[in-house]
Symmetry: C2
C-alpha cells in the first residue's frame, strides 16, 4: 500500500491547490460551493486509480494528474446532485451543498463541475485523448442511468437481483472501471490490458457496493461512522432487501412488506424485525458469497494483465484495502 | 434567408430522428424528458449557426451535424435547469420538465443532456476536434457563470450597466459566438476568420438580448407571444431597469424602488408606472441606441471575414432576421 498512499498524497496536494484557486474565482456564489464540495475529503479512490493504472503501464503520474482530477470532480458533482435528489442533509458529517447554500446554487454548481471535469480532461494533451474522452463520456451517461434506476426502484417492490446488479454496475462500478482504464489508456496500454483492468474495476465496484449494503446492516457499530440499519429505516432497495423479498416465505414476505409500508414505527424494532427476516432467508450468507465471488473475479482479472507480477501487488492491495480484506 | 431555411430544415430533420431514438432508450424516466425537451421546438438558431459557419468556410454540412446538435442539446439543458431555478412553469407554452415530470427528473435529465452534448461532439472525428472541445467547454462554463450572475442580480439594486452587459455576454452571447466559431473551426477556417465570426456572434448576441429586454416592454402585443411587461412584474434586472435605476432623478428612483419592493399591487398600474419612469429617463432611446451599436459592430465583424461578398449576405440576413430588421 506504500505506493497507493504516495499517489494519494500527491493527488490530494494537487487537488487542494486547484480547489483553493477555484474558490477564489468569480462569481463566488458559483465557485465557493465547488471548493466546499472538493474540500469535503474522502479517500479519493477514483483519481488514485487513474494514477496507479497509468504508473503500472509505464506512464508518468504528472501526465495524468488532470485526468485523475477530472474523475474526482465528476464524482463529487454526482454526489452533490444526488444529495439534493435524495434530500440528504449531510455529506461526510458536513451540510450538503443544497443545505449549506441553497438548491439553485446546488444545481448550478453541480452543472459547472460536470463541465469542469472536461476542462481538466482537456488540459493535458494525451495521445489517446479522444478515446479517453469517449470512455469518460459514455461512463458519465451510464452513471446518470444508474442514478435513474436507483430512483425508479424506490417505488417498486418487484426489483430483481439482476436489475439491482445492473443498477449498481451503472451507478458505481463503471466509474471505478473507467478510472483504471483512463489511466491505462493514458499510458498507452494494449487494448487487452485496458479491458482487463476495466473488468477488474467492474468486479471490484460490484463487490464494493454489495459490501456497502452489508456493512449498513452488519458493521461493527464502533467502527462504523453512521447508524447501523440506516438503509432499513430508509426502505432502501439494497442487495439485502431485494434478496429477502425474492426469497422469503409468504409470512416473512408479508411482514417485510408491512414494515416497508408502515409510516409510524419504533426504529430499533423495525431494524431488528427486518434483520430477523434477513437471517431467515440467509441474506447475510448470500451477500457475503456474492462479495467473495466478485472479489475473486476482480483478482482473476489482474492475473490476465501483462505487467510484472511485482506490480500486480499494488492492485491486489488496493482491492483488499477497499474491501477491508486482510490476506 | 433561403440558405438558412434549408439548413434549419436539415437540422430539424436530424434532431427529430435523434430525439425519437433518445426517447426510446431505457431508463425511460431519464430519456423521455430529454425527448420532450428536444421536441419543444424553437428556432434552433445555435445549431443553424454552426452549420452556416461551416458551409461559409467550405465545410460539409453533414460533417458538422453532430456538432450542431451538441450545441442545441446543451442549450436545451440550460433552459431545463434554468426553468427549475427560476421556478418557471411554462416553456414555449408547454409545462416545464420539472412541472411535467418532477424536480429530481429535471435535475438528472439535465445532467445527462449536458454530457450527451459531449457525446455528439465526439461522434464525428474532426481535424480540430480538440480546439472545438475546448472552445465548447470554456463557453459552457461561461454560460454557468452568466446564470449565476443573473441570479446574484435578483437581490441587488446596484447592478451597473457594465455588470449587466458582462452577464448577458456570458449567459447569452458566448454560446452564439461559440456556435459560429465551432462551425468555422470544423471547416478549418483561419484563426483570424474564426475570431471575426466569434465577434460577430458576441455582438449579435448582445443586440439580441437587449432587444429581448426591449420587446418585453415595447413589443406589439398582437405579435408578442407573452404578456407585455412580464419582466417588470417579475422585477427582472433588465437593461431597461438597470439604466432607469442608474439615471432616474431622486423622486423617480424612489418611486421605482418602491414598485420593486411592493408585494401587493395592480399589475397594469405597476407596468404603466415603471414605463413612465423609463420614458422620463430616456430608457427606450438608450436601449435602441445600444441595440443599433451592437448590430453595427456585428455587421462590421462580417466585413473582416475573408470570404466572398456573396456569402456574407447569409450572415447579414441571419442577423437581420434574428433582430427582425428589414433592410
Amino acid at each position: 500500500m506504500e505506493r497507493v498512499k504516495t499517489l494519494q498524497h500527491q493527488l490530494i496536494h494537487y487537488l487542494d491547490n486547484e480547489a483553493k484557486s477555484i474558490g477564489q474565482t468569480a462569481p463566488i456564489n458559483l465557485y465557493r460551493p465547488i471548493e466546499y464540495t472538493l474540500n469535503m475529503g474522502g479517500k479519493r479512490l477514483r483519481p488514485v486509480m487513474v494514477l496507479l493504472a497509468a504508473e503500472l503501464f509505464g506512464g508518468k503520474v504528472d501526465q495524468v494528474m488532470n485526468t485523475a482530477l477530472a474523475v474526482e470532480i465528476f464524482h463529487n458533482f454526482t454526489l452533490l446532485h444526488d444529495d439534493m435528489m435524495d434530500k440528504a442533509e449531510l455529506r461526510r458529517n458536513k451540510p450538503a451543498v443544497h443545505k449549506k447554500y441553497n438548491e439553485n446554487i446546488a444545481i448550478l454548481s453541480g452543472d459547472a463541475m460536470s463541465i469542469m471535469a472536461y476542462r481538466y480532461l482537456l488540459k493535458t494533451k494525451l495521445d489517446r485523448q479522444s478515446e479517453i474522452l469517449s470512455l469518460f463520456t459514455e461512463t458519465a451517461i451510464e452513471v446518470c442511468e444508474g442514478q435513474q434506476y436507483d430512483m425508479d426502484f424506490e417505488t417498486r417492490l418487484d426489483v430483481t437481483v439482476t436489475e439491482y446488479l445492473e443498477m449498481i454496475r451503472l451507478k458505481t462500478a463503471v466509474l471505478l472501471a473507467c478510472s483504471f482504464k483512463m489511466g491505462a489508456l493514458a499510458a498507452n496500454a494494449s487494448d487487452a490490458d485496458a479491458a482487463h483492468i476495466y473488468n477488474f474495476g467492474i468486479n471490484l465496484g460490484l463487490a464494493f457496493q454489495l459490501q456497502d449494503d452489508w456493512l449498513d446492516c452488519y458493521a461493527d457499530q464502533d467502527k462504523f461512522g453512521k447508524r447501523i440499519g440506516g438503509d432499513i429505516l430508509a426502505n432502501k432497495k439494497t442487495f439485502l432487501l431485494i434478496n429477502a423479498l425474492e426469497r422469503a416465505n409468504k409470512a416473512d414476505k408479508q411482514e417485510l412488506i408491512g414494515w416497508l409500508e408502515k409510516t409510524q414505527f419504533d426504529e430499533t424494532e423495525k431494524i431488528e424485525a427486518v434483520k430477523t427476516i434477513y437471517r431467515n432467508t440467509a441474506v447475510p450468507e448470500i451477500t457475503q458469497e456474492a462479495i467473495t465471488a466478485y472479489y475473486k473475479q476482480a483478482i482473476e482479472s489482474i492475473q490476465h494483465i501483462a505487467i510484472a507480477e511485482s506490480l500486480k501487488k499494488d492492485l491486489r492491495d488496493l482491492a483488499d484495502s477497499i474491501l477491508k480484506r486482510e490476506h
